[in-house]
């Protein structure tokens, strides 16, 4: 089905209340009414603490939460529901793997590969693991457009490689990394692959069996779900061996004065009261994505990205980072304006009620690698409009003049 601009916008109450042109989807998306409704209805009609109550209502709450887990399982094409662990966000998911897998199964002399374009969330946990275990951090470099070449892969992988932490899509360049090739090489040396899907999950279908990644992390809030819910997918054979990340309520089998035995997966890795309402909201977001369809999302995003790139490239002082191909941007257009600091760019756009991000985008090593101090990022979603892009570009055109150039 082809959705009209109007129909798409009507799904999102945000646009009824705010006049901003929102171009910061890589930070967080907006949410459709049905996601907000799903969360609210859980609290209104099914609210009880899942897994505890031995009463009908408690079981309904449990069922709603577990149904959301099944929906995520199907969304990722995972083999088992217990391979889906609910967390707060991608950051927590990645920390869970780092603490419970990295700290336990890595040792001195092992090597951890991380790409240079990782978000700090998929770098700092591995720096910690390296420090604690004595493993060595090895960087997988990329070219100026974000491409990771065969030579760079050859250089990074050794027989000591035990873990590869890599992002599916860069939150700065928008490029997609060669995950199939990374997984093939990693598995050849019996290393596990941790995929950060935070930036890809809203833009393309992900099949964990096809990709054959060992772990995958994402946040609900970047894919139109609520804030405060994230997912860690892990292959059952790894999750089963991992000690608990957090300890406390609802992750035990029995507890004595001196010790405890732990509940089976997935509850062993979900200590404390879960965010059931947000899980139900995430489920609604997944249904929404399926209703619109990946093809519609992809083609619309590409159309808008190409439309924006064309106009931005016509302004000589603007330089877009990453690929020349709009298809390889996942809606992310990070750019610099000659002679104008990115924070000034963002403030000037803000004065015209256009929301973009500016700075180092939690990817300082990438900026150092590209030798760019910082940049401004506009990130699109399929429900943006061409009129919004036009207004954004109209504000970019006089930007240098506003900063006193050319007088």
């Amino acid at each position: 089905m082809k959705w009209s601009d109007k129909r798409r916008r009507e799904e999102f109450p945000f646009f009824c209340y705010r006049e901003e042109i929102y171009l910061d989807h890589a930070a967080t998306s907006q949410r459709p009414q049905r996601v907000l409704d799903a969360e609210r209805v859980f609290y209104e009609k099914q609210n009880a603490n899942p897994f505890r109550g031995l009463y009908e209502l408690g079981m309904e709450a449990t069922d709603a939460y577990e149904r959301a887990r099944k929906t995520v399982q199907n969304f990722l094409h995972a083999q088992y529901a217990e391979e889906i662990i609910f967390t707060r966000n991608a950051t927590e998911s990645l920390n869970l793997v780092a603490y419970s897998f990295g700290c336990h199964f890595l040792k001195e002399g092992d090597e951890i590969i991380v790409s240079i374009m990782e978000h700090h969330s998929n770098l700092l946990p591995w720096q910690m693991v390296a420090e604690k275990t004595g493993a060595k951090l090895v960087f997988l470099e990329c070219g100026a457009d974000g491409t990771i070449s065969k030579e760079q892969l050859d250089f990074a992988f050794t027989e000591r490689t035990k873990l590869v932490a890599i992002t599916h899509v860069s939150n700065v360049l928008g490029c997609q990394n060669p995950i199939e090739e990374v997984v093939r090489r990693a598995h050849e040396c019996e290393a596990v692959v941790v995929l950060d899907a935070a930036q890809s999950i809203a833009h393309r279908p992900v099949d964990v069996v096809l990709l054959d990644v060992d772990f995958l992390a994402f946040s609900g809030h970047k894919m139109m779900g609520p804030m405060g819910i994230g997912v860690l997918y892990g292959k059952k054979k790894w999750l089963e061996q991992m000690p608990p990340f957090l300890r406390g309520g609802e992750m035990i089998e029995s507890v004595s004065r001196t010790g405890a035995t732990f509940a089976p997966l997935p509850h062993r890795l979900e200590a404390g009261t879960v965010n059931a309402a947000a899980a139900v909201g995430l489920e609604a977001a997944i249904h929404f994505i399926h209703e619109i369809g990946w093809e519609e999302i992809r083609s619309r995003e590409e159309e808008l990205t190409a439309y924006a790139m064309n106009q931005m490239e016509a302004i000589p002082e603007i330089h877009i980072l990453g690929s020349k191909d709009p298809k390889n941007h996942s809606g992310i257009l990070t750019f610099t304006v000659e002679g104008v600091h990115p924070h000034d760019v963002a403030s000037i756009l803000d004065a015209d009620h256009i929301a973009v991000r500016a700075g180092h985008h939690c990817a300082q090593p990438l900026f150092a690698h590209l030798n760019i101090p910082s940049a401004t990022r506009a990130s699109l979603a399929f429900y943006n409009t061409k009129e919004e892009i036009d207004r954004f570009v109209d504000c970019l055109k006089p930007l240098r003049r506003k900063m006193g150039y050319g007088k």
Binding site: E19, H341, H343, I348, D350, A351, P373, S374, M403, G404
Partner: protein, 141 residues
């Protein structure tokens, strides 16, 4: 929706053509101020003679607000006594918190163009960077 921009000519002019952005070899005090948020980094250099700021300059990189603010600050404090300069600093910092009167604003001359920064928490640190650095120098003198 209201447009609250503060990027007018006074600010952009101080950013592109700062009068006080140069080295000062015989400075008595040199202090670095850093705002990791924007990556603003300035070095403030001050020469004090008989309790008076005889000469001062700054070097560094950063956003237009941090650079222009430092330049306007030096316009205002060069030639002033240490006490007067500290009073100006206090005035400016209060302006950024939205706590100054109209007559106080006049004292700040061109630097008062930054008063709308008080509506933008993310940019406050850029605007106050030079002033905080000066305050630190003068208070520790």
């Amino acid at each position: 929706m209201e447009n609250k921009t503060f990027y007018h000519e006074i600010l952009t002019d101080h950013n592109l053509h700062p009068a006080h952005k140069h080295d000062l070899h015989d400075a008595d005090y040199v202090l670095e101020g850093v705002n990791p948020n924007c990556g603003d980094d300035i070095w403030l250099k001050v020469k004090i003679n008989d309790g008076r700021i005889e000469q001062a300059s700054f070097l560094g990189d950063g956003c237009a607000i941090s650079q222009a603010s430092a330049d306007m600050m030096l316009d205002l404090v060069i030639g002033k006594t240490k006490e007067d300069a500290l009073r100006m600093t206090d005035l400016f910092l209060r302006m950024i918190q939205g706590e100054t009167t109209e007559s106080e604003l006049e004292e700040l001359e061109e630097a008062s163009v930054l008063q709308n920064v008080s509506h933008m928490p993310a940019r406050v640190k850029c605007a106050v960077l030079g002033w905080h650095t000066l305050k630190e120098i003068l208070e520790n003198e």
